[in-house]
Symmetry: C2
Subunit: 402 residues, 2 copies
DNA sequence: TGTAATTAGTCGATGAGCGACATAACCAGC
DNA sequence: GCTGGTTATGTCGCTCATCGACTAATTACA
């Protein structure tokens, strides 16, 4: 009764360990790799040959000599394989094809209404996905995995949304099942803010292991990366900071039933509502951004106050998890420095210096692409996991052995 | 230039992997272990023999048969080795000797003033440590490691306190250096709340992977365990919730310079100060506990309100990290259900149901021992790390080979 | 008391990984 | 442009952890 992972010798020559090191995209020499893994150089050479045969790695030309024979540099080769990154929002859908390094090839957007339910929205995902594959000259067989972000709580293990407040009809829906039925590859689903945190970290904060990504748009949420790992919490709803209480005394009612929730005070629609009391025309966060860009004083002031309110909640977050970076994304972040200035003002005054001395607070650099990039990363992480690499190596070894 | 970990074959026969499984204290059969590790039973047998020779594991008598030859059950054997757990408080010192399963053998307390500085306090630690070793019939050679908790921020890597507000003279002091000079074993230092979180989890919440331990005493702090790992943050000051702002409008000044910090409102001394305005005699959290136990109405009301204030901050923590348990410790927890009722009242009303449906809020069960137990766990984790077990196995192999 | 069931100990075969040595490629200086 | 120093690569026999299969031991139950 032995399992499949062993067939005489060890699992799969451990080539996947080597591969995981190359995942960061940096080219390495054999000696570097040997040091990094604590193995002999000759062993590393053998493992590299396995990965070369699989087409997973390749040589980089630039051979730099330090006085002797120049070392050949080995790096991850994306090959022809691709993944799909899907970012489902309340009112729009964004899909991207990326190679295995997470670099975007093609992307596209479509207006949808998430309230139309899972079949309608996921049907659009299938359409856009197929279009993109065709545009980038790939076939369905080149696709390795799909990552999906949805605007609500998800049980990451099963990929099913759980009681999502703004996604009627999606509760418990088998999102991976639908997409796997059309693409026949693994589908990973997570909260949209979580994948944005992944995307942003991969794009601009590779060396930062403790990071909080905050999305301020129609809703407000945070994705937390601690010790380099995404924190989902016990029920997968960690980072739901939109309903933490703030105290500016307006008793603003929130859709959750409470009052003075951050989301009822500082979200795009909340700021827009406040601006309407000044006789300004505004409904969404985008409207607010437009008013700020036009230089409207009331809008500026309201945005800065919203920043302060977000800052109040974030100062608590900083005290609790002590991150080294906070990245602000979502439509409200597009108001530029005014919003972030309000955040900084409160965070740096309401937190002990020890926690803020190395803290950076910055605007999202990947902007609207953070979601699809993060979704791709999620898919790549799965497609390139040690288990799957081992399986590929085994697939290479078996025909030879048989 | 190869390193010491390899001398011809593999590092150390991988016996440490096996040992790590047995660390939970549960006895296992060979077949169970083989399944758990994905290795052949014969291999497991060989590894067990190595650990038997080292005296690290042993057989458990009770042999249960399921219809055939009864399996022999293998379990961790604490042997004669011990560790010291040290819990340094603002005004008292607690030291315990425990075996390698973390079970206490002897413990003792002494009144100290942390303001007397590191040499005086650590001198007392050395005295008490030696006394305890003698009492439990162990010698210095039986000691494997020391774990220490201090009431302030610590750089865990070096064991040096960093700008601790209530520990004048300790800033940057080499705590491990002092103790290693006397005991000649590794010394691990961490924040007191962090080790209490470790101790509490080990004592009563072994199966809970997401837990927040909150200490409410002279100060207020939290230790966060996420995905089974202690979260220290980027600078090692995660969980410092004492200076998060609460809003009951009293503008209470805090020693940190801000107003309305949780610590200025709900800590032992803060509640005591409030009770003095009612003409009651109270200075510390212990005084408050005494008044509550005597049934004083004002004290009851003040404690419940303090619970609500703590609950306000904890509801933000729940939204952010989504734990499955919150454990309340520290002197204020000794006021019994009144304090925790206030916490529950606010947390369950100010947090979305999704995050609280499986949330438990409970009083610390290990009480005053949480600190020393956690410190021991910290020491044991280090003393029993894969690297150190590998080294022990090597030490066994080398004389034979040489 | 015998038989089925289950666990434990033993041993030859296998191959991942190692170190050592020979070879290849490049630089600098004469 | 040759030559010696330097650094990287390729090759090969050896070692030992691990495997699977077989045998021995121990119990339950008919």
């Amino acid at each position: 009764m032995s399992d499949i992972t062993s067939f005489g010798g060890l699992a799969a020559s451990g080539a996947s360990d080597l591969f995981q090191i190359l995942r960061d995209g940096r080219p390495r020499t054999r000696t570097e790799l040997a040091d990094l893994m604590g193995l002999a150089r000759s062993t590393v050479t053998l493992r590299i040959e396995t990965l070369l045969e699989l087409g997973l790695v390749g040589f980089v030309e630039e051979s730099v000599s330090t006085g002797g024979r120049p070392s050949s540099r080995i790096a991850l080769k994306s090959g022809s394989k691709v993944v799909l990154g899907v970012d489902i929002g309340a009112s729009h859908l964004r899909v991207a094809v990326t190679d295995l390094t997470g670099h975007g090839l093609h992307r596209t957007t479509r207006a949808i209404e998430i309230t139309e339910g899972p079949e309608a929205v996921l049907g659009a995902v299938v359409e856009l996905g197929n279009e993109l594959l065709q545009e980038s000259g790939r076939t369905a067989t080149d696709l390795l995995a799909i990552g999906v972000g949805v605007p609500g709580p998800v049980e990451h293990r099963t990929g099913r949304p759980i009681n999502p407040p703004i996604m009627p009809g999606w509760n418990g829906y088998d999102v991976p099942g639908y997409l796997e039925g059309h693409f026949h590859v693994p589908v990973l689903v997570d909260n949209d803010v979580n994948i944005m945190a992944l995307g942003e970290r991969n794009a601009a904060w590779q060396d930062v292991d403790d990071l909080i990504f905050v999305k301020v748009a129609t809703g407000i949420g945070a994705g937390i990366v601690s010790s380099g790992r995404l924190q989902r919490g016990a029920d997968g709803v960690a980072g739901d900071i939109g309903h933490i209480r703030v105290h500016n005394g307006t008793q603003a009612p929130c859709r959750c039933g409470n009052v003075d929730c951050l989301e009822a005070v500082a979200s795009g629609p909340a700021v827009a509502a406040k601006l309407r009391t000044f006789g300004l025309e505004a409904r969404t966060g985008e409207d607010v951004v437009r008013l700020v860009e036009s230089g409207n004083r009331d809008a500026l002031r309201a945005v800065r106050q919203a920043g302060r309110d977000v800052g109040e909640v974030l100062s608590a977050c900083v005290s609790l998890v002590n991150p080294s970076a906070i990245v602000i994304g979502g439509s409200m972040a597009l108001t530029g420095e005014h919003f972030i200035a309000g955040i900084r003002e409160v965070v740096y005054s309401r937190t002990i210096p020890l926690a803020t001395q190395h803290l950076q607070i910055a605007q999202s650099s990947s902007g609207l692409d953070a979601g699809v990039l993060g979704a791709s990363i999620l898919a790549i992480h799965h497609a390139m996991s040690p288990q799957r690499i081992d399986a590929m190596v085994l697939g290479l070894a078996e025909p030879v052995a048989g």
